[in-house]
Amino acid sequence: MTATPVVRAVNLVKIYQSGRGLPVPAVRGVDLTVEPGEFVAIMGPSGSGKSTLIHLLGGLDTRTSGEIWLDGQRADTLSESGWAVLRREKVGFVFQFFNLVANMTVADNVELPALLAGASPRHARERREYLLGALGLTDRAAAAPAQLSGGEQQRVALARALANQPRLLLADEPTGNLDSRNTRDVLRLLGEVHRQGQTIVLVTHDARVAGLADRVVCLLDGQIVDDGAIVKRRRRPGGTAGDVVELHGR
């Protein structure tokens, strides 16, 4: 494989230093390479550094040391405005707490990134209609974010992040606020864009989301303790799909 990795983090470290308190080492020497088209799920207990890591990768927080490369470009040395440009061109980000633009409609929130990136209004609108449709939000297009439930805002944030078909989708707990039906829509959309080649790195506790990924990276105390493929189980000869349920059911 000679393709340029979409993400390459080398010995990444983040130590929070708040006021006069003790420094908190949140990410401690992470090496991570993500190839084009890969879907990586980051898991681990609360406080293990998952959000910090994904924020570093998206340039939303500055590293203490180490290197970050996005799509072959050195990113950790960029200025804030340099990061903003890189993000606009290459990264879709779904925050744990949405960050929608409050005084814009849902439709405009989703179209904005594509328009900023130079897409034609017609193309931006079609993409928005497709994404909102896939997430069951078509009839909320004219609403303001404040009129939406947490779960709806979270889905709008996902639609916005995918509007540009970004080189990299980063997401922090994208189903954290969803009930099981809405989670199903998100799962279907993630699976679909991944099949179309979308590279995805997301933090999740939801096993259904992680079950879509090709690879799981597990953090503990700011370090990677496991990194490996999620392989399809080989089924028993003559077995049916239903074996999974039987074997696991009790």
């Binding site: 096993a207 259904r208 879509l212 799981v216 399809k232 049916t240 239903g242 039987e246 059911g249």
Partner: protein, 168 residues
Amino acid sequence: MRQLLLALLAKEPAHGYELKQALESIFGSAYPSPNIGQIYVTLGRLEKDGYVRSVDVEQANRPNKKVYYITAAGRESLENWVEEPTEGPRVRDEFFMKLVLAPMTGLSDRMALINRQRRHYLSLMRDLNELAEAADPDNRVALLLIEGAMLHLQADLDWLERCQEELP
């Protein structure tokens, strides 16, 4: 399998192949399609225990077929099965036994065991995702069975994380 067949026979008498078809149409892809031989073996045992009886029905141009029906003893056994509470979650979890005992013997360390188990659960989840996608969207029974398996897996993963946090 015993109780499933008894329940179907409590609804109406049937022969082996009809029972197989009934199980398939109720549970859809979420439940392994039962092997016809296994159904006949189970029916034979139920008959020996006095829970079902069979009659030979003649068929034109074909060998006789056996039609099974439930007996009073069978109905009573079925009623007991329905009424008694179903076993809850496992207290003696086999993985947990490994997790506690293996490091003592130097056979494996906990981190490796937990990581392997997590990957195993996630690949099961991967299969369940595919199964859910392939399932007939109108078969609620099948979808609920799959969802139940997913929720169990989620609990297993959450518990694994607790083990990782708490055990040295």
